[in-house]
Amino acid sequence: MSVANHVDHAPVVSESKGQAERDRLRMMMLIRRFEERTYQEYTKPGQKIGGFCHLYSGQEAVAVGIASIFQKGKDYLINAYRCHGHSLALGMDPRAAMAELFGKATGCSKGKGGSMHFFQAEVGNLGGHGIVGGHIPLGLGTAFAQMYKKTGGVTFCLFGDGAINQGTFNEALNMASLYKVPAIFIVENNGVAMGTQVARASAEPELAKRASGYHMPYRAIDGNDIDTVIAEMNEAAQRGRRGEGPTFLVANTYRFRGHSMSDAMKYRSKEEMEQAKLRDPISLYEIRLREKGLLTDEQADAMEEEVAEVVADAVRQADVDPHPMLEDRFNDVLAEQYPLQK
């Protein structure tokens, strides 16, 4: 048996030492730049992005950490509405992502989903779901299918600290443990559900303990440290792949932007924000890579410039891409033609 068989994820081909780490850093930078540019496009005069829009800035280590161990073609990721970062981390073309925000036909959901509903079936990205907690049973279901078909895949089911208080959380986690499905339920705990702090929404302040009634491993992890995220996700994924059932992880993190674009964040103090910036997941990782000698100033600068250009290109392209044809509104409602005889 070759050594590769023991590796739980496809080994990253690196041309030089630290390439995989730098790729992760680059992806976090790309997501940050994408979101900050989205903020600009949303707020500037002649607004080209409409609807609800929830930015991921500050939480990048969770999405990129998961993507680091995600097995494309086998694993699934299903997510709530703050879904730009995860989609990019799983390899979505930034052009397709930005075009979706602009509502264009070239968007990842053909302009029919919008910010909250990014999907990419071929990589196992199952959305992008707008109703808080509504998709948790879906993640249970995709994991059930993985078990039913014995694929060896796992489902990463992500939601926010607000979703824990929905009934679907209780129903899905209980059933996941009963059936021992290979799911990893991940709370991205950014401390506040829209404007309601965790302490005002959850009677149990330690959110990880909310899973103590489901007979599955649970713990809180540092969601700003991508190496921690990778290690914890990997352990949970291996449990799932071994058929040992689901895991519950609370990734403690922070969002630098408001809940959505209209949020002035009056519920946060300046001091709190400044403290949080000290634990910016991108800066933390950058410092670590420099300390390990895996990143030079020139490399970091080049990466910043490169992702800025990628995002600028995505905006330019989205701007000129076509809107969907009006007739296209009737497409994609049903899969079958009716009358249906089978």
Binding site: G111, F119, L126, G141, T142, A143, Y338, L340
Partner: protein, 314 residues
């Protein structure tokens, strides 16, 4: 269900009491023994949990049959069906299909009270992305259920507890009935009566007999079978022929199923109508427990006969 599970290993049955209890109404009797616990699966009382499980599994290639003990209980998992099953395909620009069948007892059974007697057809029929199927005979139940399970779209399959013991000819062999096609159950020339599901079995067929035998009215009776997509053409052509129409259901009248059907046929048939279309429906009250009150709130043979005679001016 058994035949379809033998035909396709991706089909499984899940719901409350479907396995070890052999079905709350014994619909799945013997299926656990036949297919084992991997494919006939008991759930906790968690409608949102197992409805969502089915939808998630369907989006990645399985073909679940999700049994609800009562469609009334789906009021606690509407979000799963309406937001997830119906929307995922559209919101993803057609990247996913959701081949799932939700089935169970719909409507008024017998003295189950207001909470367990909801007629949910309009709740689901008005949602693009869903198909809604409702059999009125054992023959239809088998043929329509097979098509529903094989469909790549989410199907709302509305049964009724009081129809589970109905007897009727059901061929042993594999046959299917198309979704989206209404059935002209009795051809006639004087009036079109349109109905579906339980009221057909409970009162409408009896009323038709009375109209034909006692009043000499030659009724054309149509069983809609599929509420979404509605086979408008069959209904319209019939009314153009008979020039008169009565719609019967057990729903509430205001925003009811029949009101929706009426809207679909009134305009194309307007110049052909010899009388306004009548709609016989349940009273606008929560469903009472008392047997006599419950009976009184629903369309009766007398009410249907009276409406049909009104429309025929005799």
């Amino acid at each position: 269900m058994t035949e379809e599970m033998e035909r396709d290993e991706n089909v499984f049955l899940m719901g409350e009491e479907v396995a070890e209890y052999n079905g709350a109404y014994k619909v799945s009797e013997g299926m656990l023994d036949r297919f084992g616990p991997k494919r006939v699966i008991d759930t906790p009382i968690s409608e949102a949990g197992f409805a969502g499980l089915g939808i998630g599994a369907a989006t990645v290639g399985l073909r679940p049959i999700i049994e609800f003990m009562s469609w009334s209980f789906t009021l606690v998992c509407l979000d799963q069906i309406v937001n997830n099953a119906a929307n995922i395909r559209y919101m993803s620009g057609g990247q996913f299909k959701v081949p799932i069948t939700f089935r169970g007892g719909n409507g008024i059974a017998h003295q189950l009270g207001a909470t367990h007697s909801h007629r949910v057809e309009t709740i689901y029929t008005r949602i693009p992305g869903l198909t809604v199927v409702t059999p009125s005979t054992p023959y239809e139940a088998k043929g329509l259920l097979k098509t529903s399970i094989r469909s790549d779209d989410p199907v709302i399959f509305l049964e009724n507890e009081k129809m589970l013991n109905d007897a009727g000819d059901v061929p042993e062999e594999d046959y299917t009935i198309p979704i989206g096609v209404a059935n002209i159950e009795r051809p006639g020339n004087d009036i079109t009566i349109i109905s579906y599901g339980r009221p057909l079995q409970r009162v409408v067929r009896h009323a038709v007999q009375a109209l034909v035998n006692d009043h000499g009215i030659d009724v054309e009776l149509i069983d809609v079978r599929t509420l979404r997509p509605l086979d408008k053409n069959t209904l319209i052509e019939s009314v153009k022929k008979t020039n008169r129409c009565v719609i019967v259901d057990e729903d509430y009248g205001y925003c009811g199923m029949g009101a929706g059907i009426l809207h679909q046929i009134q305009k194309p048939c307007f110049d052909y109508l010899d009388a306004p279309i009548e709609y016989v429906h349940s009273d606008e009250i929560p469903v009472p427990f008392n047997h006599f009150l419950e009976e009184a709130m629903m369309p009766s043979v007398d009410r249907i006969v009276a409406a049909a005679r009104d429309v025929c001016y005799r």
